[in-house]
């Protein structure tokens, strides 16, 4: 079963995607602590797409889809912004983040630690990012 939400590239839309994800996970009886982590990973990727890939342009759109498959949940983002493959991003170490006094760098580290698999592809003029979480 799959459910879809489309949002504009505005940081205020993050609350919508979190609520949507949370509702879907609750509907599928995903335990609260696990659901919270998955919502966080979705929020992080979405914030990244809004801010970096689409420059917070509210007329740009992100289509988000959650697919509950046997043994796995697949979260898919489609947008037309600047393509970015999370797998190719090397997160800075925590020591580097602290000493550089930067605020960024933690989000994708979280996504990589929470999700089991991340896929990135480009089809026609769309970027597609898939986050995959396996469950027993």
């Amino acid at each position: 079963m799959s459910s879809t939400l489309t949002i504009g590239c505005n940081k205020e839309e993050l609350v919508k995607i979190r609520q949507f994800t949370s509702d879907m996970l609750e509907e599928h009886h995903v335990p609260d602590l696990q659901a919270h982590k998955l919502v966080l990973a979705v929020d992080e990727v979405c914030a990244n797409l809004i801010i970096h890939a689409n420059d917070c342009n509210p007329s740009s759109r992100i289509e988000f889809d959650i697919d509950f498959r046997p043994k796995q949940i697949v979260f898919t983002f489609r947008d037309k912004g600047t393509g970015f493959d999370i797998n190719e991003y090397e997160s800075p170490s925590m020591e580097e983040i602290v000493s550089s006094r930067r605020q960024g760098g933690l989000g994708l580290m979280l996504v990589k630690r929470i999700m089991d698999k991340i896929e990135f592809s480009t089809e026609k003029n769309h970027n597609i990012c898939r986050l995959i979480k396996m469950y027993p």
Partner: protein, 113 residues
């Protein structure tokens, strides 16, 4: 969505955070910490008992000030983090970098250690 209040009491600067801190609202937390720095506060307590959600943007605010806090001998203690929020700190191992305690009383006494 996020509500941040501050209070000075007995030489301690309290920052109370309620609601959700994400990429849109983390700037308010950053402002609160920058104001504390600007006012020369040396003992800061962040009351997170009303915090329902924090993303990397909010965590990044705490982490981005750590180096400066250490250099200026400013002590920051966090308390009241609920179980769901705490797991986010745990995923990144932030309990090793930040002083995190259970209660307000423990936060206050952390400055006497």
């Amino acid at each position: 969505m996020a509500e941040i209040t501050t209070e000075n009491k007995d030489g301690i600067h309290f920052i109370t955070v309620n609601g959700e801190i994400d990429a849109g609202s983390s700037i308010y937390l950053d402002d609160a910490l920058k104001n504390a720095l600007g006012n020369g506060e040396k003992k800061i307590v962040a009351d997170l008992s009303g915090l329902d959600y924090i993303s990397s943007a909010g965590l990044g605010v705490f982490i981005s000030h750590l180096d400066e806090f250490n250099q200026q001998k400013i002590q920051l203690t966090l308390f009241g983090i609920n179980e769901t929020v705490k797991q986010v700190f745990d995923i990144l191992g932030l309990e090793k970098l930040l002083t995190i305690v259970e209660s307000k009383e423990a936060a206050i006494s952390s400055f006497n250690e």
